[in-house]
């Protein structure tokens, strides 16, 4: 097998999805033998504009400089894969996009707002350049990386798993928090991938893996109304980590 050349780039984020690599433990050494890491600053590899087979992108676009950087990275990358909520949908920091006047926010946090240079929005990578594959999750798991790289090493395009959290939850036989406790669980409309962690802990899913395919968010929101939740609470529920996604817009 030919060694794939990979790069890991960071934009606006918490660095948590890069940990899907750095938290692999001893498997990280094995991965570094199977692929050639060309650029991954946190791990000590710096060659930002070298040509690579796969560029993994963490983080969202929040400055004019980011816009230029992602275009340059796209130009030298055969395949571009987003890792995590920030890169795939703008992330939790995209909550500022809906604010009445996020420009004023700078003034309330910083004494001299003019020193701070940001765009009005936090946006997904796909809003700026073509994306070949998206790994959802806040955070993504090491398993997602291993599965993707494993498939590509064998020359196979990975399958996009769009199953819902409910499916993995039922298979694991966790007690349904929506049915048994009346909690506003987002499992019916959220992508699987976390292993139904929150239901396993007896709590309702808050949707950190983002919208699943063909999800009926409005139907679920209506159910929450039936359970007695106030509209603001329901709106906040859907508008947290993937607030830019219109398939989760509910009224």
């Amino acid at each position: 097998m030919e060694r794939l050349r990979i790069a890991v780039h960071k934009f606006s984020s918490c660095d948590g999805c890069q940990l899907a690599f750095l938290n692999m433990g001893e498997a990280l050494i094995e991965l570094s033998e199977a692929v050639e890491i060309v650029h991954f600053p946190e791990a000590g590899y710096v060659d930002e504009l070298a040509h690579v087979d796969i560029a993994f992108i963490e983080g969202s676009i929040v400055t004019a400089h980011d816009e230029n950087r992602i275009a340059s990275i796209r130009a030298v990358s055969n395949r571009l894969v987003t890792i995590g909520a920030c890169a795939t949908s703008g992330g939790i920091q995209a909550l500022k996009n809906a604010a009445q006047s996020p420009d004023d926010w700078t003034g309330t946090i910083y004494a001299t707002p003019s020193y701070i240079d940001t765009l009005r929005t936090s946006s997904a990578i796909a809003d700026y350049v073509p994306v070949d594959f998206e790994l959802w999750g806040c955070p993504i798991t090491s398993q997602q990386i291993v599965t993707l790289v494993g498939a590509l090493l064998r020359g196979v395009w990975p399958v996009d798993d769009t199953e819902k959290v409910c499916m993995s939850c039922k298979r694991a036989q966790y007690v349904c928090t929506l049915v048994t406790k009346g909690e506003p669980c987002l499992g019916p409309v959220t992508r699987a991938g976390c292993g139904a962690l929150c239901p396993a802990f007896g709590r309702d899913c808050f949707g950190c893996f983002g919208p699943s395919d063909t999800c009926n968010a409005q139907g679920l929101a209506n159910r929450f109304v039936g359970l007695g939740y106030q509209p603001e609470r329901i709106a906040r529920r859907f508008r947290l980590i993937h607030s830019t996604r219109t398939d989760w817009s509910v009224t």
Binding site: L28, I92, Y115
Partner: protein
């Protein structure tokens, strides 16, 4: 000394968490400009927390930092519980400490082996170092994995764990998981101690510097709670923090700077161990380890790596003790009711003190949030250190040597620039 003029721009400083830059201008053999520049654009967490219910905060603030999410969760629940006069029961306190120990082990083992050690042993990365030090790097990664495993026990995953809530935890772990993990940790403690012995004999030295250490102090060793002490004699509660710590903005950094009574100060592992040594308060295991190590208390910043090594052993030992005493609780959390007002909370993140303040209304919604992360607090100290270190190192060294030395000094603080609000680009100019 030569009066050469050199303009040097190195695009990215590696092995730090986040993005920043360092500008260095040397004029006629003097440092004219030295700026640690954190240019990660702000993510405005403090603003979009407004309007959210207090119960949503632990999951939200976790996302400030992928490397120390537990620190954010614990400082936040500490703030709310103090405001709501909720006393978490001993089980909750022990489990919070255990979860936090996991984060210390994970974060410290990552920093020591993948980020810092390559500097001291002359490699570009931990992975490159693994070719010559395979056993040591594998041992480090194994310890990091164990830290993650502790976090998974109580939080389901190590990045943005989902177990913590105000009043306690969503779920108590089962006995089988406890006994399996305990066996693994007991087997790993001798390995961690061997790692510490190895770190202890590495030829890591540097000049002593004058600085104030700031850390929480707690009888068993401060992690998830404590009272703030400084080597200047400060003794503060969380609500008194802003009486002595002032945040200010510089034109070149998106992270706010902090001074303690108008002076830079140090937070983090070295500061913690210095204060434990000064006060003699900590677990017997920790005090015993420190009494056998003549390097502490230390004013030598490069001893921070050894301090992390000691804290890995301490956190591992502490985790074992907690797991040995484990009893299944009646409930994994205590009930609470919203009390409006202002809550203050803090804890010792792997890289130092993390302080939170929240204003909460009658319905339990956040009306104001303020968060002071460790890297902002260390920012002024790092610049001061760079000044002193560069003068001691010699400004007539080559650009390459100067850059390497600056990077090493900065990385030694384990700066978490993602937290502070992120990569270092180093620009050296000589005129």
């Amino acid at each position: 000394m030569s009066k050469r003029r050199v303009d040097l721009s190195v695009p990215i400083l590696a092995r730090v968490e986040g993005e920043g830059a360092l500008d260095l201008i040397i004029q006629d053999g003097n440092i004219e400009t030295l700026r640690l520049r954190i240019y990660e654009p702000p993510r405005f967490f403090e603003k979009f927390l407004e309007g959210r219910h207090v119960s949503e905060v632990p999951d939200m603030v976790a996302r400030i930092c992928g490397i120390c999410p537990v620190a954010y969760q614990v400082s936040a629940v500490n703030a709310f519980e103090s405001l709501f006069s909720v006393e978490p029961d001993p089980w909750v306190q022990q489990m919070r400490r255990l979860l936090y120990c996991g984060e210390w082990i994970e974060s410290h083992a990552l920093h020591v082996h993948m980020l810092a050690l390559p500097d001291f042993l002359g490699y570009a990365s931990g992975i490159a170092m693994a070719k010559d030090y395979p056993d040591q790097v594998r041992r480090g990664l194994k310890l990091q994995s164990l830290g993650n495993e502790i976090m998974r026990l109580l939080g389901g995953r190590s990045v943005h764990p989902i177990g913590v809530k105000i009043g306690g935890f969503h779920r108590a772990p089962d006995r089988l998981s406890i006994s399996k993990l305990l066996a693994k940790l007991e087997a790993a403690l001798p390995e961690a101690e061997a790692m510490l012995a190895w770190l202890n004999q590495l030829p890591v030295t540097g000049p002593a510097q004058t600085f104030t250490s700031v850390a929480l102090v707690y009888p068993e060793g401060a992690i998830e709670q404590g009272v703030l002490h400084s080597t200047q004699g400060h003794r503060l509660l969380a609500e008194q923090f802003t009486e002595h710590v002032e945040e200010f903005q510089s034109p070149y950094s998106t992270a706010l700077w902090s001074h303690l009574d108008q002076q830079p100060y140090l937070v983090g592992p070295l500061a913690r161990l210095n204060l434990i040594k000064q006060h003699g308060e900590g677990s017997d295991y920790l005090l015993d380890m420190l009494s056998r190590n003549p390097r502490f208390p230390s004013q030598t910043l490069f001893d921070s790596m050894l301090a992390r090594g000691i804290e890995i052993c301490f956190a591992l030992h502490e985790s074992i003790q907690i797991l040995k005493r484990y009893c299944q609780p009646c409930s994994p959390s205590v009930a609470w009711k919203v009390v409006p007002g202002t809550g203050y909370g803090w804890s010792e993140a792997p890289r130092g003190l993390l302080w939170h303040q929240y204003e909460v209304d009658e319905q339990g919604h956040i009306t104001f949030a303020r968060i002071v992360p460790p890297t902002s607090q260390n920012q002024a100290r790092i610049e001061q250190d760079l000044h002193e270190s560069l003068l001691a190192f010699g400004l007539d060294q080559t650009d390459e040597a100067l850059q390497k030395h600056c990077e090493q000094v900065i990385r030694n603080y384990d700066p978490c620039i993602s937290c502070a609000t992120h990569f270092l680009t180093l620009n050296i100019k000589r005129r």
